[in-house]
């Protein structure tokens, strides 16, 4: 039982990490960037190359991979979204062009790294584990859960309390009004993409480490779950995304253990459906204020 709770929290922290970066652009700015999962995947490979081929220590490779993710995010914005900005249907057309970009990046990953599942070299991270009340928790799992919580706190602070956060929210409210007030809309959006993709990269590297599994299709495993977590938690809410991530992880683990793996997604998305019927704005979401 204790072990299953740990398993659930761990799986949930992976979902939360993926969703937190995702929701900065999707939940706050209302831009659905479906290339997020491709950044997640490519940056896991970047870290893998740095550690495996250049023999860098993980502590050096991790920030570099995160930086690469951030830069890739800016590229995603410039290529898939910026040319379409200002069109009346920019959200939908941007979504479609981000699907195209995701497909291109995934194909590039397949071409560059091959279809085989790769793993980080043995001993990349210490293989120690601790025992907490009958449950065995590896140090990596503790670190991942902690990172998810810290990122949640930091992003909440960023969006609510900082200048950049205010500007992001202003752009989300009305790009035109923000521009009139002297906000450089393109730069704010690029900054949001940078942060979002850097977090996506961090999630990708940690996912690869946690499951010893880096493959060109790894992003697909969390893409839908990430969206579900954002909606379940409430659009734009960082604590919501984290809580929903943990809740989904726990729900999945107990469904698998008690009912079998075949029911996992049915139960997970069934609960999502139920929450949306009962609380249309998600667990922590506020009612939409920008109706008109």
């Amino acid at each position: 039982m204790g072990q299953q709770i740990v398993n659930g929290l761990f799986l949930g922290s992976i979902y939360a990490l993926f969703a937190l970066g995702y929701t900065l652009v999707f939940g706050v700015l209302d831009i659905l960037n479906l290339a997020h999962q491709a950044v997640f995947m490519l940056c896991a490979y970047v870290a893998l190359l740095l550690v495996g081929s250049l023999h860098l220590h993980m502590f050096a490779a991790f920030p570099l991979a995160v930086l690469a993710g951030g830069l890739l995010g800016v590229v995603v914005d410039r290529v898939a979204f910026k040319p379409l900005r200002g069109r009346s249907d920019s959200n939908i057309s941007g979504l479609i062009s981000s699907i195209a970009l995701a497909t291109i990046l995934e194909a590039a990953g397949l071409q560059l790294f091959g279809p085989d599942v790769e793993r980080f070299p043995l001993g990349t991270v210490p293989d120690r584990s601790v025992q907490i009340g009958g449950a065995i928790v590896s140090e990596l799992q503790v670190v991942i859960i902690a990172i998810a919580l810290v990122v949640m706190g930091a992003l909440t602070f960023l969006v609510q309390r900082t200048r950049l956060g205010r500007r992001i929210r202003a752009v989300a409210e009305s790009p035109l009004a923000a521009r009139i007030l002297g906000v450089n809309v393109d730069r704010v959006i690029a900054a949001a993409f940078f942060l979002s993709s850097a977090l996506g990269a961090a999630a990708g590297v940690l996912f690869g480490l946690a499951f010893n599994n880096v493959a060109p299709d790894m992003g697909r495993a969390v893409e839908l779950k990430g969206l579900a977590v954002i909606i379940l938690g409430g659009m734009g809410s960082m604590p919501g995304a984290a809580v929903a991530g943990f809740a989904l992880g726990l729900l999945e683990v107990f469904t698998v253990a008690k009912l079998g793996s075949s029911y996992r997604d049915a139960i997970a998305f069934g609960v999502l459906f139920l929450v949306l019927v009962l609380r249309p704005h998600g667990l922590f979401g506020k009612a939409a204020l920008r109706e008109a």
Binding site: Q4, I14, S129, A221, S262
Partner: protein, 371 residues
């Protein structure tokens, strides 16, 4: 009409062959998973087929006939498998097809060959049912899990003396599901109680929930039916949970990629195998040496693919040096005690292959045959 024309052509060319040793080319199509989920097997299979064709041609065993192999990627998908089979049959006019890699793909592609009366040699499909059952043009070199697992289980039990067992398997893949059915039947036949069964999906990477549930029942032995991709993750995560139960895997574990990806966690894992790599048989040793000379460390899939070509060559010889589709098919039935790296090979009346099986354990990062 075209068929008769073809026969005449073959007959004439044989006449010429007798007179002036004119070379006739017999085409073989090989459909393997070079990309996709089963790509770890495809590369080894391709290497095995290419070496065998080269050796058969060099040996002059098929007087006047040169084998030509066309390797195509089935991309581990049913759709692509069907497309490749159609290309082989209609465009390349091959005499026989080797492959595809996975049983799941075979259930989709093999019926096309059966309809077109093109013989197929399955070299890695191990699902007990639904492969050679497709029809009389579908033959199989690879032993089914039903042939390998029961003897491997008896072997492991004699060594480990476990009283009960738990099972974990992928329930959305033809091959892993079939492997599970065999494991369950073998355990029941041995009278070993099954304390818990858990499932996962092909795309899963997190198995902690299933493993924790299994560990909670405290079984003496764990049997796992999974593809190599998940096998490493399952074993690694089991050991990370501090669970040191002996594990026996199905055919999917049977790949160096499993050991590479599972690392230390792979140590002590048992796997049944249809290829006894340690066999001192000269045919086997020559095969390993030739493969290593090409810079490839062969695995079971490589040996089976290699054997697939030998079987086709033998069938052509048995058919009186005729390489038409029906000649090859008729020749298969006459293949008996053919020396191959897998041992003396024959076909059973149901067109499944038959030869001796073995069990191996991972030790020091490699598979070792358990004597």
């Amino acid at each position: 009409m075209r068929f008769a024309g073809r026969l005449t052509l073959v007959a004439t060319s044989l006449l010429f062959a007798a007179l002036q040793a004119r070379a006739e080319t017999v085409k073989i199509g090989a459909a393997f998973s070079i990309t996709g989920n089963a790509a770890v097997y495809g590369a080894q299979q391709k290497a095995g087929v290419l070496l065998a064709v080269e050796e058969v041609n060099k040996s002059g065993k098929l007087k006047g006939i040169t084998l030509e192999v066309i390797v195509e990627d089935d991309a581990t998908s049913k759709e692509q498998g069907i497309a490749v089979f159609q290309r082989f049959i209609n465009r390349d006019k091959v005499s026989a097809i080797i492959g595809p890699t996975l049983s799941t793909t075979a259930t989709a592609a093999d019926p096309i060959a059966q309809q077109s009366r093109a013989p197929v040699v399955a070299v890695s499909n191990t699902a007990p049912k639904g492969i050679t059952d497709i029809g009389d043009y579908i033959w199989r070199v690879s032993l089914t899990e039903a042939q390998v697992i029961p003897s491997a289980l008896q072997n492991a039990r004699a060594k480990l003396g476990f009283k009960n067992a738990a099972l974990l398997y992928g329930n959305d893949d033809v091959f892993t599901k079939a492997g599970f059915d065999v494991m369950k039947a073998a355990l029941e036949k041995e009278g070993i109680p099954i304390v818990e069964i858990q499932t996962f999906a092909t795309k899963d990477r997190d198995f902690n929930a299933q493993l924790t549930a299994l560990k909670g029942k405290n079984p003496d032995f764990l049997m796992v039916s999974a593809l190599a991709e998940q096998a490493a993750g399952i074993v690694t995560q089991a050991r990370q949970l501090g669970w040191n139960v002996p594990i026996m895997g199905g055919n999917g574990f049977n790949s160096p990629a499993f050991i590479k990806n599972a690392g230390q966690a792979a140590e002590g894992v048992y796997v049944g195998t249809s290829w006894n790599k340690a066999s001192p048989d000269p045919v086997n040793q020559a095969f390993i040496a030739a493969m290593k000379a090409k810079g490839n460390d062969p695995d079971q899939f490589c040996a089976q693919a290699y054997t697939g070509v030998l079987v086709i060559a033998e069938a052509i010889r048995e058919a009186g040096m005729k390489g038409g589709r029906d000649d090859v098919k008729a020749g298969f039935a006459k293949v008996k005690d053919l020396p191959t790296p897998l041992g003396k090979f024959s076909f059973l009346p149901n067109r499944d292959g038959n030869h001796a099986a073995a069990i191996q354990v991972v030790k020091g990062g490699r598979f070792e045959i358990v004597q």
